[in-house]
């Protein structure tokens, strides 16, 4: 009877130890899973962040393309205006300049 009583108690203690180990192991596994989840969540947020930056980048690219187009157009227009003004002015003064050049060529001061 006495040995029988002791045996029952030992069995209960062993079972408790096993349950304790199971509880601890479960916590450890949950921890590993949580860390893995951390990596997964981080990667998800990183992907979202990258997508956001890519979107903003593409928006900036297309906007700057529009800007560049406008700049080129304005530059071309300014250039044509300058050249037109240049030609107009040259035509206006050409006769006088040529006369003056010839006058100097044929004026000899001795």
């Amino acid at each position: 009877m006495a040995s029988n009583r002791g045996q029952g108690g030992i069995q209960q203690l062993l079972a408790a130890e096993q349950e304790a180990q199971r509880i601890v192991n479960a916590a450890k596994n949950e921890k590993l899973a949580r860390l893995k989840q951390a990596k997964e969540e981080a990667e998800k947020e990183i992907a979202e962040y990258r997508a956001q930056l890519e979107y903003e980048f593409q928006k900036k690219v297309s906007q700057s393309s529009g800007d560049s187009g406008a700049n080129v157009k304005r530059l071309e227009q300014e250039t044509e205006e300058k050249i037109h003004h240049l030609k107009t002015e040259a035509e206006r003064i050409s006769g006088d300049v040529v006369s003056m050049l010839l006058k100097h060529v044929t004026s000899v001061k001795n």
Partner: protein, 236 residues
């Protein structure tokens, strides 16, 4: 020891074991949450920094490329304006060159001009002996002017009359054919070339050379006499 006591003691030990396990599990859970946050934040920050740098680099590349592109276009535009400027000046010079062709056609004016140019050359050279070259078509005219030029030079320079040798073997090029001043054939619109006897000093006093000098050096100055200023063009 009574059975009840033993049983109670065993139950107490069992509760203690479970409590220990649950406390440890709780510690692990807390640590897990803490490490979860740390891990996640570290990963996020590291990757975000990388991504941000990547896109900053991309944006910078776009900016640089755009600046280079604009700079190239701006430069091309400037060259275009300068080319138009050069064309305008070239047109004026061509018009002046064509005008030179008429100078030697006016016999009276050209005769005096030629004499004055010879005297000017003599005054510049101040050589006792001078070699003179002219267009073949001007030879007779020049021969008729030499004595007068020598005399005028002597008076102005208070020098002895120089010896002038007219080169009858080599002449200056003839006038341009059909008034084609833009052809590549050498031509001379009029005037003379004088050289010291040893040939070391050469003075080119042709109409074309005079036009070149005046065009390059005196045009800005000469324009002050004009009703309008050429500076309007160069100021653009």
């Amino acid at each position: 020891m009574k059975d009840a006591d033993v049983s109670r003691q065993i139950q107490q030990m069992i509760r203690f074991i479970r409590q220990e396990a649950e406390e440890k599990a709780n510690e692990i859970s807390v640590a897990a949450e803490e490490e979860f946050n740390i891990e996640k934040l570290q990963l996020l920050e590291a990757e975000k920094r990388k991504i941000r740098q990547e896109y900053e680099r991309k944006a910078k590349q776009i900016d640089v490329r755009r600046k280079i592109e604009y700079s190239t276009q701006l430069n091309a535009a400037r060259i275009k304006v300068l080319q138009a400027q050069d064309d305008a000046m070239g047109s004026m010079k061509d018009a002046a060159k064509k005008g030179l062709l008429r100078v030697s056609n006016d016999k009276k004016v050209y005769k005096k001009l030629l004499k004055d140019m010879i005297v000017q050359g003599l005054l510049r050279l101040r050589e006792p002996s001078v070699l003179l070259r002219c267009r073949e078509s001007d030879r007779k005219l020049v021969e008729s002017l030499i004595e007068e030029a020598k005399k005028e030079y002597s008076e102005k320079a208070s020098m002895q009359s120089p010896k002038i040798s007219l080169d009858d073997r080599v002449y200056l090029p003839p006038p341009p054919k059909n008034g084609a001043v833009d052809s590549h054939e050498p031509y001379c619109s009029g005037g003379v070339v004088l050289a010291s006897e040893d040939g070391k000093i050469v003075l080119e006093n042709t109409l074309d050379a005079r036009l070149d000098v005046i065009f390059r050096q005196k045009l800005p100055e000469a324009c002050k006499e004009a009703p309008v200023r050429l500076n309007n063009i160069t100021a653009i």
